[in-house]
Symmetry: C2
Subunit: 200 residues, 2 copies
């Protein structure tokens, strides 16, 4: 009876477990994390985890599904309000770095833990990553149609480049022991991406 009606908060605990799991995974790595560690972090009994998740595997999968679809839907909403492809790419880069730069544990799990096995990688890249990459690709193709971007470039390759560059910024930030703000690097990346590095 603690808060209004009891029912809606069934997922409260699921949330708590998910948060605890991210923290634990980020700290010791997925394969080195015990389900008991997650339970302790969440302040519940070991067995309770299995009332909300099918398996340890399922926790990681659930985390990814939610984080990725949140990110994509927020991205689409934001992009809908922007006109030029150039500005769209700028916003994508900013959102990418802002989101991950705002939550180190989330970033660690994304950059490191989710990539630890071909099994996970294939599954995940098939799902959310492909969608994300496709949004970038479509924006580039749009820019080419409008004459803003060079047409002698394959959109999909250019999309992978931008994604790869941003991804590397995040990975470096995650592994670096220094602490600096991640988001501002979006502009540095775009400066090169738009204009190249040659002087001429």
């Amino acid at each position: 009876m603690s808060r209004s009606n009891a029912k809606p908060f069934v997922s409260d605990k699921r949330e708590a477990i998910l948060r605890a799991a991210i923290k634990v995974f980020a700290g010791k790595g997925y394969f080195n994390s015990k389900v008991a560690d997650i339970a302790k972090e969440a302040g519940i009994a070991d067995g309770t985890v299995y009332l909300y998740f099918k398996s340890k595997d399922d926790i990681l999968r659930s985390f990814f599904d939610r984080a990725m679809s949140d990110f994509i839907s927020e991205g689409k909403r934001e992009l809908a309000e922007i006109e030029g492809p150039e500005d769209k790419l700028r916003r994508i880069a900013q959102l990418h770095l802002e989101r991950l730069g705002a939550d180190r544990d989330l970033a660690i799990v994304f950059q490191v833990e989710l990539r630890g096995s071909t099994k996970f990688m294939e599954e995940f890249s098939a799902k959310g990553f492909a969608d994300y990459l496709d949004i970038i690709r479509a924006t580039i193709a749009e820019g080419q149609k409008l004459g803003v971007f060079r047409i002698d470039l394959k959109p999909i390759i250019v999309a992978k480049m931008l994604y790869g560059a941003l991804d590397e910024m995040v990975t470096n930030w995650v592994l670096s022991h220094k602490s600096y703000p991640l988001a501002p690097m979006a502009d540095e990346v775009l400066k090169v991406f738009f204009g190249g590095i040659l002087t001429k």
Copy 2:
């Protein structure tokens, strides 16, 4: 007595174990690979693995150490013969994609398995990756000094971008179920990297 003097080939078996391990790790992932799997693949007994390696961990570490130092020393040798910073970067990109594109198992372990835990990542990025990134950074700084590259860019960031872009090409190639040659993508990447994507 099989080949000239026996002694020098103590490492023959070490080699064989290493090769077997890469194949096994590439196939099922580091954490899902049993030492017994590696032994079977190498055609030896389980215990024999421990005559050549301290632990399962040590196998992955040894693999990385050798692959990375081989790559870096070969790279340095090649680069010494090249003059302009622009051509140097071109060669770096080509070597990067040629080497990984020539050995899928090696590529899988590099792109996926070595990144599966912060523990490994921190250790590895501290070692070889930092050296590699620094070669790229130095080349870019050199180009700036010579007036070939824009000076309003931070070399380290530009280096991470190039590395990140190449890395993403490799990861996509590894995870893709289609089979296409990786090396030619170096030129596509450099086209953008040098010239940017804007038409102007």
